[in-house]
């Protein structure tokens, strides 16, 4: 009886120690470079780069499959940061993937909306609430302004509204010129 308890205990304690040690020793935190690139990307999940979201694009950049100038929402600033991070030359935005636009959110004209749910399926960040044959609306806070909901709408009731600059969301414009020259 005592032996059984002791043996079971010793087996489990041994296993626990080995696994605990291994989980510290063999820790992997994803692919660090992919996460770093993903952090720079604007997380609009718009797919304009040709990949189904920001993370896949980050993975593609890390694997050398994609160029750094395919992200219109990130703009010039984003490309500069990516170039810095990866130690490559800056190159202007590839026009194939679209033009940078001011940050905006989608607004549904609720009197025209027929409740078809097509935009809900298109939204990559689940920022649209609504049900079949019920009016839909957009959670402004969640909307990334990716415009993916515009094409599927059969009655064209979604508009992009530029976010006006207020004292709440104003910040210093980039690029900030460095006072001290780096060498």
């Amino acid at each position: 009886m005592i032996e059984a308890i002791l043996i079971t205990l010793s087996i489990t304690i041994f296993i626990g120690l080995v696994l605990g040690y291994a989980s510290i020793k063999l820790k992997t935190t994803g692919d660090p470079i992919v996460d770093k690139i993903d952090k720079i990307l604007p997380q609009t999940q718009c797919g304009q780069c040709g990949y189904p979201g920001c993370k896949p694009y980050a993975t593609a950049i890390a694997n050398g499959e994609a160029d750094i100038n395919q992200c219109p929402p990130g703009g010039d600033d984003g490309i500069h940061k990516l170039a810095d991070l990866l130690g490559v030359e800056y190159k202007p935005l590839n026009a194939e993937h679209g033009e940078p636009k001011p940050k905006s959110v989608a607004i549904i004209d609720e009197s025209t909306c027929i409740g078809c749910t097509l935009c809900i399926q298109a939204c990559p960040v689940d920022a649209i609430v609504g049900a079949a044959k019920q009016m839909h609306t957009i959670i402004e806070k969640e909307c990334t302004g990716c415009e993916l909901c515009l094409p599927p709408c059969p009655v064209d009731c979604i508009d992009m509204q530029v976010i006006p600059e207020t004292t709440e969301n104003w910040k210093w414009k980039y690029p900030i010129y460095k006072i001290k020259q780096q060498n």
């Binding site: 032996e3 043996i7 087996i11 296993i15 080995v18 696994l19 291994a22 989980s23 063999l26």
Partner: protein
Amino acid sequence: MTEYLLIIISVVLVNNIVLTKILGLCPFMGVSKKLDTSVSMSAATAFVLTVGSITSWLVNYYLLIPYGLEYLRTISFIVIIAAVVQFTEMVMEKNYPYLYRVLGIFLPLITTNCAVLGIPLLNAQLSHNLLEAALFGLGGALGFSLVLILFASLREKFEGADTPELMRGSALAMLTAGLMSLSFMGFIGLDRL
């Protein structure tokens, strides 16, 4: 030498773990829809089965038998197999990311595969020595892989075949599995262990 060869042949063909012992049916039915996934699953199972049967044998021989604790076999084997799988998963993620991506979700899933527990238990029952236990595990894995890959190929063929509507899907899979089991019975004469 012939003895060891016989163990392998016996466990691959004659006493096939899936078709004769009826163990590990869950992945046999579950992941045999596509050939790719079934190959990954076979590889992962082969690995876990071999390592699992060796470690379980060690624990059984050096810890359980000397203290007369054979009745703790099931629970300690389960714990050991789960731990071995966890550990290999960590090592794999760190050192062989490509392999880790191929095996992916299958590795932790295998912990609950009854074939993986069945083989160490059979090892203990048949009182194999270490080498025999390892070969038994490897052979079981080979048999499992053979049958799983054959079955997945058959099912992929059926996808394109003009089968009666009523029979499509699970019905046909069950029938195929039964027929495969029958045909494997033909190997019984091979081995008189």
